[in-house]
Amino acid sequence: MEVLDNLILGAQVAFSWQNVLYCLIGVLLGTLIGVLPGIGPVPTIAMLLPITFNLDPVAALIMLSGIYYGTQYGGSTTAILVNLPGEAASVVTVLDGHQMARQGRAGPALAIAAIGSFVAGCVATLVIATAAPPLAEFALKFGPWEYFSLMVLGLVAATVLAHGSLLKAICMVVLGLLLGLIGTDVNSGVLRFTFGVPELADGIGFVLVAMGMFGVTEIVSNLEQGARREVFLGKVTHLFPSKEDLKRSWGAILRGTALGSVLGILPGGGALLSSFAAYTLEKKWSKHPEEFGKGAIEGVAGPESANNAGAQTSFIPMLTLGIPGNAVMALMIGALMIQGIAPGPQVMTDKPELFWGLIASMWLGNAMLVILNLPLIGIWIKLLSVPYRFLFPSILVFMSVGVFALSNNPWDGLIMGVFGVFGYLCVKLECEPAPLILGFILGPLMEEHLRRAMLLSRGDPTLFINPAEKPISFSFLLASLLLIAVITLPNIRRKREQVFVEET
């Protein structure tokens, strides 16, 4: 039982009192900020990243992941209590969760979301523990061809999942790749696109792009819309779901967990896709589809389980391949690099305590969330009733602290501001920021692998698509092509548009 041995090693790391403490701080901070509407996991993690600089890598990663599932959890609380998703992945929770709250059943809705997330978290932890090692072993055989093609597949998948126009999403990816190239070229030492600015020699900080485009832009958009919030401020009573509720939701929890675990692993997948897919599945599966949108508990249980499972299994490609499937994982990769760890399949063998410690801490963090949050729900409700005019200046200050702490240089604030303005322009032109962020982090990696591949093959690009020589690379590229072809089929395209219209 190798998995068991590994998990025991992980548990020893994760259950040391310091790491338990960091995990606890992480989930608490994550929930605290995740509860606030309009701040999703990306700006939250970006904002809190500097806190982890002085920690050792294991503790830093444990805390950051704690923040991640904390924000997920807080986001669903907001979705149920306020008619607003705290973050994108809980958009579908709003549909039935808030209806339940209006019918006076906020308690059971919150409880079932928590229970579902916990079950999903436990299962997903096991999935990671069993699926990651063989995948990492497989990935060790990857050459530059395979890596390049895998990144292409990841980026294509990310664009397919973006809202709105596919063409514009692809444009955002390419623009992201280009922006990622700014800075010193590792091969020749030439400064590219730095325009004589010394601060640009190391490239544009990933955190600054993420905070600008997700944090600053979000605040400006919220301010221009004006504060329209329907807050449920009644007391949450009868926390525990009835027998009937449990009977109706356990199936949904299991289905959501299974679906989320699978979808989370896919490049471009993760919490968001999982929750949408789970909601659609539950609606199809249910004997009473007419109840959906009017407070069906399955509509809370399924998506909430799925988004937690998806959030966790999206760690698999990040940990085993060193490739982020979504923007949050891109931040995690950034955090690893700041800690001086090169992401990739070797992390598991070189740093088993980091890998398994992180996995064990995921289970711990989920357990903490269930135990802590149900009793603490009163505090989160109080927090929700704080008017936005107090919140946003505070968020601005915290973001500024995070940015300034990166290098004590006001230049970073300027770059963040520039990307805030750019993000706002993108919102107005309906271009999604998430694909750009993925492209941004993958840009230098892709160039590196492409150069190496072309050098090794003496300039022969056909090796990428040669099924006899490089079957893995061939299948990745074929899959990307199929994905684009499928999504441009008129029928599926309509369906995709529908899915994204439903959410708004």
């Binding site: 444009c171 500024s400 602290v401 300027l414 501001g417």
Partner: protein, 156 residues
């Protein structure tokens, strides 16, 4: 030619413009190299070319099929929020933590719908104390507490 979908048209123009810039700059400034040994200009030039083509595609689509207008810009929150972040960074060195925080809060709060001096002052005060306790004391971030003209800062 009539622009049928202004939002897509401007998005396309932005992409095509950026792409063209990267291509032009790469060719002008950096060595291209060959496919075997790529120079620093090769990959950006290829990507830039791809982006301008894709951008042109977006423009072409916007001329063919109708679409929404560009939603109106709200410059007040955009400018003030950006200024608030900048003020924090640029006032930290000369002014110290309290000045930077207060400036960021006041400028930021002006972007909101209501601005009440008393409330904003309280928020600023709370944030200064919180920042001091959590970031400076707790996390030992090296932020200056006093304005730079005070040589021996009593708070540390």
């Amino acid at each position: 030619m009539r622009i049928k979908s202004p939002r897509d048209f401007w998005a396309g123009a932005m992409f095509a413009g950026c792409g063209a810039f990267f291509v032009a700059w790469s060719f002008a400034q950096y060595q291209m190299g060959s496919a075997v040994r790529m120079g620093p200009g090769y990959f950006p030039a290829v990507l830039g070319g791809l982006l301008s083509l894709l951008g042109a595609g977006v423009i072409a689509k916007s001329l063919a099929a109708g679409g929404p207008r560009v939603a109106p810009f709200h410059f007040r929150p955009l400018v003030l929020v950006s200024l608030s972040v900048l003020a924090y960074g640029y006032l930290m060195q000369p002014g110290g933590l309290a000045v930077a925080t207060a400036a960021a809060v006041f400028i930021g709060a002006l972007a909101g719908h209501e601005f009440r001096w008393k409330e904003v002052s309280v928020v600023a005060l709370v944030l200064v104390i919180f920042s001091y306790l959590v970031f400076v004391k707790g996390l030992t971030l090296p932020f200056p507490m006093c304005p730079s003209f005070i040589e021996n800062c009593p708070i540390r």
